[in-house]
Amino acid sequence: MTNPLSLRNFYFRNKRKVLPVVGILALAILGVVVTDSLLASARETAYATFGSYQKLILVAPRATRDQDLANPLQDSLARLHDVQLQVDALDGPGGITSYYNAVIALPAQARAQLPAVQRLEIDAANARYYAARLRGDLVPLGDLIVRVQRLQTEEQAFNQLVSQLMQHPNDPRPLITYLQQHQTWLQSVLPDSAQLGRLQLAVGSASADANGLQQSLQALNRDTASLNRAGQNLADLPVPPSPTATIDQFRSALDQLTASLGSIEQPQPGLDKLLADSARIPGTALVKRDAYSNLDINLLAGNAQFDLYGIDQPGMTQLLTLYGDRVVAGRLPRQNASEIAVSEEIARSRHVAVGGQLGNNLDELDRLPDAFTVVGIIRGPTRLGIIPLDYMTQHYLFERRYQGLIVIPQSGHEQAVHEQLQRLVGNQAFRLFDWPYIKAKIDSLIANLDSINRFLILLVTLVLSLVVGLLNNLFFRQRMNEFGLLAAVGYSRWGLIRRVALESFGVTLAAWLVGVGVAVAVLSWFNAVFMIPHGLLMNVFDWNVLALHTLPIPLMVFLFGMGTVGWQLLRLDPISIIERRD
């Protein structure tokens, strides 16, 4: 005959009391495993997404579009306003039009006899023409400058939004506010390179017209002086408007702006030298020009920009070989074609296959301009995205300007090459991105989520310990008669404590096993239907999560429950129970 007080009897004959406790604990463990696994997945996916940095160093220009554009634009806009007032005054009452009307009102005889007066008439007509043109130029020029400035502001606002979301990933308010404020404008704005091209044209036109106006005004004044010197003073000849210093300054500002915009079309100075010098660093395996760009992808912990390498054809093959990747569908991009090859996880994440398209035309958060056709799917340990260097630099202004390098150190020389490169680039035109930097960024992003998660686990553990501990105590109080009797008839106190401990241990162990089992089932399902199709990584059997992260709950619950029940058992007075008359 088995022990009637066996654990088996206890569990199977108290199912209605044991199962709810097992259920509550199992649910909590399920929750912890799911949140922990998603967090681990976010970290692993981020590592995998930026895994290419483990074998290369990206040398990127430090200058940004903001820095290149901001000052000339602001300066030009300020001057534009002054010039508008000047040109309005020139063309207004008593201005060029009045002067022109006065000149053509001179007696026909006088005009016919005097070539100087005819010259004056031509110059006045020119001045009027250029003033009208410049007035016409100034309106769209101002609008374009404002639009380009708006683009910069938008980029700053977006960066600020990203920063806020990184700091408070669970607070959607900044995102909602941003979208509400910027939605309409985002939909209407043209690609920034097109805006810049228009601005360049408008600047050129305004500069030429301002030049023409200024020359006409100078000619008018020379004509008048010449007439006066010749003693052919016509009593009713009006005084011509003076050439203005403001227009000169404006021309100068426009010239500066033209130069700035022109320089944007060129690669960063020093790139060729840096390429040559980098190749000479001992321990460097490969150096390639890189017109890098980005695709927006979901990393579970938020969206991120996946790096695309814009390199030449031999470089594409070398990059695949370096990472042990291969093209499993389609081919690599052709020379000078708007084509892209990406890893299968990225393709899945963006829901594209060979023949599909990626780029800013389809997703405005992509830095990759226009729409590139996916021509190849890459498979291998490292996620890659490859685009042709020549197409990027010959078709897009900014991509030409913001070219960088990829430097691939030989194995074991990463640190040395990094240090040499850092010495080469100094602290000015370029900066380096390598795996330690990228990993630190990812860890910093995940660290916030990790802290929240740890806090939640702690909270759940504490609350559960209290709740289950309370349930245990209630259950124990219902069994006081049983323990009172056993103590009275000679069962040892420690024996009773051991028995209750085994009962609690069994319940928490069962809850842990059920919770972990259900969690593995749920994660497997979620992995199959969501994570894999979206190119996200998840380790369903992450024992670090399954075992270590979930154990505090049953452990705390057990210790708390046993602590209180054990204390009561130690202080149990069987006589007080025997004498109870309830």
Binding site: M1, L5, E482, L485, V489, G490, I575
Partner: protein
Amino acid sequence: MLSAQDLALDYRSGGSVAHAVDTVSLAVERGSFVGLIGPSGSGKSSLMYLLSGLKRPNRGAVSFEDRDYASLSGAGLMRLRRHRFGFVFQQHFLVNYLSAVENVMVGAVKRNHDTAAYAQELLRRVGLGDKLQKRPYQLSIGERQRVAVARALVHRPAVVFADEPTASLDQATGHEVVNLLADYRRTGGGSLLVVTHDPAMLTGADRVLQMRDGRIAA
């Protein structure tokens, strides 16, 4: 076999001291049936707690088979209660999730087939042969108390202490329960100490001790 010498148990409450047991000496011989009777608060239950080792006295000595309780540790007293004594209380204190026979086995020291057979035999003897597998909530109050009696006897104790075992029963059932205990005394040779306030329950007792104000009056 079981003897007490000048036993005293005091309860202190604030500044005052109540003498629950006041200088009591007695001896319970092997196989005897001793009844302790007295009004509520006379100290009969307290005396039983002292004799069974559930409480330690303030003064005096108790010994069982020539072993002084004072020489036994708490664990030693527990072993004594577990192995040599049997207990029946006013309430049955059956474990709700166990069957009648399993509840009897709670009192067993060795759990083997012989003990299990004896447990069933005891239940048959107390008239519950057809209710071995019934749970306490499926039994009447009298039946539950009979299961409690069987539990007290299953390990063949040398002394059975019964503290108001009939208080919650009607008179007929009460007699039945006391007779069961008396039968054990007769057939098993164990001693029986029954605490009650009902003299009718002690008709078969060898000795009836009247308690009043913590002392044995007669």
